[in-house]
């Protein structure tokens, strides 16, 4: 019989990433949500730099694809708390942030093929 993971307790939900100490009782250093927020902000600023300096290349396509996948996963896992949520919902969201980066790479490398198969004669 398939094992079912129990839902998280109210205490775990109240401090989803703070361990046993909880969000209120913890030390004054940055909490998990703050760290994720700072990371996302830093990656956005890095993307802004790329926007101003980047030229069309495989490297840029890979970096952008990586940024979409990584930032998307960060929001899904940590903002939406999907790591402990319904596995089917989580899977759909993961597929979304995996397909788009893949399309970025396909669009960069096989633009002519994409053009050919989407041309109506």
């Amino acid at each position: 019989m398939k094992k079912i993971s129990p839902p998280r307790s109210q205490e775990q939900l109240a401090a989803p990433h703070s361990g046993a100490q909880g969000a209120r009782g913890g030390p004054s250093h940055l909490g998990h949500a703050e760290k994720i927020w700072l990371l996302l902000i830093a990656l956005t600023l890095a993307a802004a730099w790329l926007a101003e300096t980047g030229k069309s290349s495989w490297l840029l396509a890979f970096v952008v694809a990586g940024l979409i996948a990584f930032k998307g996963r960060m929001v899904i896992d940590h903002y939406m708390e999907m790591t402990s949520a319904n596995s089917r919902i989580r899977r759909v969201l993961y597929i979304f942030v995996s397909i788009v980066p893949l399309l970025v790479l396909i669009s960069h490398g096989w633009s002519d093929v994409l053009k050919r198969i989407t041309t109506i004669n």
Binding site: A23, L45, A47, V64, M80
Partner: protein
């Protein structure tokens, strides 16, 4: 184990077993209704992204030079506003779970204020665009840009209306640590608009 037994015993109607089935695969943040809406939005935007990729394949040159004329600062500002507003909703959910209703209200209101920065930024961005000759007829890249970004703005506006509704209900004390599904549903929808913008932003401001 117990849940599986309950599941097996509940065979009367689909409605009766659906919540248990959902439970079997883990907790559903917010409520199931909001996820139907979210999945529709994801499918809609996947189709719109398809339009972007096809247009790009057919007009390579326009998509190579198009981002150079857009105001990158507007795209970056919108990203920062959405991510920070999303962080506020994370804190709102965290605080309501501890039944700190006043703190929850403050976080939701802050999320709304920051979220409202998006349409304001968009307004000034479009004014700047038009002043620089970038309107809907400026070329395929800009048509696609307006098509996707304005569509996203519509979804963000719905999200903002949802957050306002949640703020009113929070102020009226209608959420507690035991009953906050509505607040969490608004939060996950709001985060979904974040995820979608994290795709749109590089499409038009970074990628060449």
């Amino acid at each position: 184990m117990t849940e599986t037994v309950v599941l097996a015993e509940q065979t009367e109607t689909t409605d009766a077993i659906l919540p248990e089935r959902m439970f079997k695969h883990g907790r559903v943040p917010g409520n199931t209704g909001i996820w139907v809406g979210i999945f529709c939005v994801l499918v809609e935007f996947l189709l719109l992204f398809g339009v972007y990729f096809i247009a790009k394949a057919h007009h390579r040159e326009a998509f190579l030079t198009g981002p150079d004329k857009l105001a990158t600062v507007a795209g970056v500002l919108i990203t920062l506003l959405l991510l920070t507003s999303g962080y506020c909703m994370v804190k709102a959910v965290e605080t309501i779970r501890r039944n700190e209703r006043r703190a929850t209200l403050r976080w939701v209101v802050l999320a709304i204020v920051l979220g409202c920065g998006y349409p304001i930024t968009k307004y000034f961005e479009i004014r700047w665009n038009v002043a620089n000759g970038i309107d809907g007829e400026a070329g395929i890249f800009y048509t696609t840009y307006y098509y996707l970004t304005l569509n996203h703005l519509v979804h963000v506006s719905w999200g903002l209306l949802g957050l306002m509704w949640v703020a009113v209900r929070t102020a009226l004390g209608m959420y507690s640590e035991k009953d906050y599904g509505g607040l969490e549903a608004a939060a996950v929808y709001w985060h979904t608009t974040d995820v979608i913008w994290l795709v749109i932003f590089p499409f038009f401001y970074v990628l060449r």
